[in-house]
Subunit: 215 residues, 2 copies
Amino acid sequence: MAERIEGLRLPRTQRRQQILTAAAQAFAETGFHGTSLADVATRVGVSQPGLLHHFPSKQALILAVLEERDAEDARYLDEVFQQADPSVVDWLVVLCAKNAQRPELVQLYTVAAAESLDPAHPAHEFFQRRYQRIRQVLAARIELDQQKGLIDPVHVPEDLASELVALMDGLQLQWLMRPPVDMCGLLRRRLARLSAAAGVAAGVAAGHGGDRSDD
Amino acid sequence: MAERIEGLRLPRTQRRQQILTAAAQAFAETGFHGTSLADVATRVGVSQPGLLHHFPSKQALILAVLEERDAEDARYLDEVFQQADPSVVDWLVVLCAKNAQRPELVQLYTVAAAESLDPAHPAHEFFQRRYQRIRQVLAARIELDQQKGLIDPVHVPEDLASELVALMDGLQLQWLMRPPVDMCGLLRRRLARLSAAAGVAAGVAAGHGGDRSDD
DNA sequence: GTCTATAAATCGATAGAC
DNA sequence: GTCTATCGATTTATAGAC
């Protein structure tokens, strides 16, 4: 958006938002090393030093992009689940449905997470902390769901959290490829077995199971 | 390995192997765009034009690396399962155990697959074909296992194939981070439920299930 | 807040000697 | 098969005018 108008002066926050949006797209497509500041600047319609006026370095730019998107996500999920704290299944299904509407953002995180394995990558520590945090939050929710009888108590919460995060990451990758897999459908079916099994176990009590074997 | 000896002349195939090894490490660490030919050349102990004598371009180099490693993998798996065709569970467990011994290679594929989402990436078509092929092969094996009663027939083979590939990819990513997750342990436990469930279903016949709820 | 100009380094790739 | 030399383009970042 926005045709190039040379030297047009914009309010600080507005220009910053433009830059963050353009940078997110660029980093998603070509990664950190494959993206030049000139790429981003051109998308915004600003000169490359003009871009560096708002973010002091390329490293600062990608970190700002990642943190801004995380904060945006947190706001969205807080809004959807205002009062009640949702079950793990509901939480992940809503998140996946949201992600299905923004492939660029999913690609940004897929690419950046992989790149960040390099200790010299600017987002290396960011992603290490992020994965620890996500697993912790998810494990805590799993434990709550287990107490409510929504998830089979045989699962170790931390293990199931790692598995579900892995599944989502992997499905996102294949969903971004061609032909795309049915990311949300596959996740939903996997999650349905978690709750269905616990429902059977909790509802029928112990001693005799349902007809459905397993997943 | 190999301390730098200027101008040392090596046989074609040997030098090519050196280059492929060094390039695999470099691309794994910093990705395609983040790796320079000079990086790779220095690791090998050769000049940058000397490197380009063996591979005509950077693009040709990364493609050669990826194809060579795929072929190596195929040879290894053929060797392990010489006569019998293994079950899906055995096949994936062996593959995961092998991968656990070579984090650099796992990282190469994790990073390259994510980068390759960009249509302009040299390995874009390579990875699209690769994922299609892997899912097909895995789905065919799943179908065979289902006929043998090793895997619950409720699963759509193509769907389970996508899910297992996703799980492995995602676990690899978390295994490469710190703290690392127990990649093979988590995979094994997930796979155990696939076979245990079918075992129960097949062994006890239909109509009444076991005590174990689900996964 | 945005620009032009430019520094200083590095990139992939080629030419040609040995 | 390997090198030195080099081209031409691109990179991040800074200096300073407006």
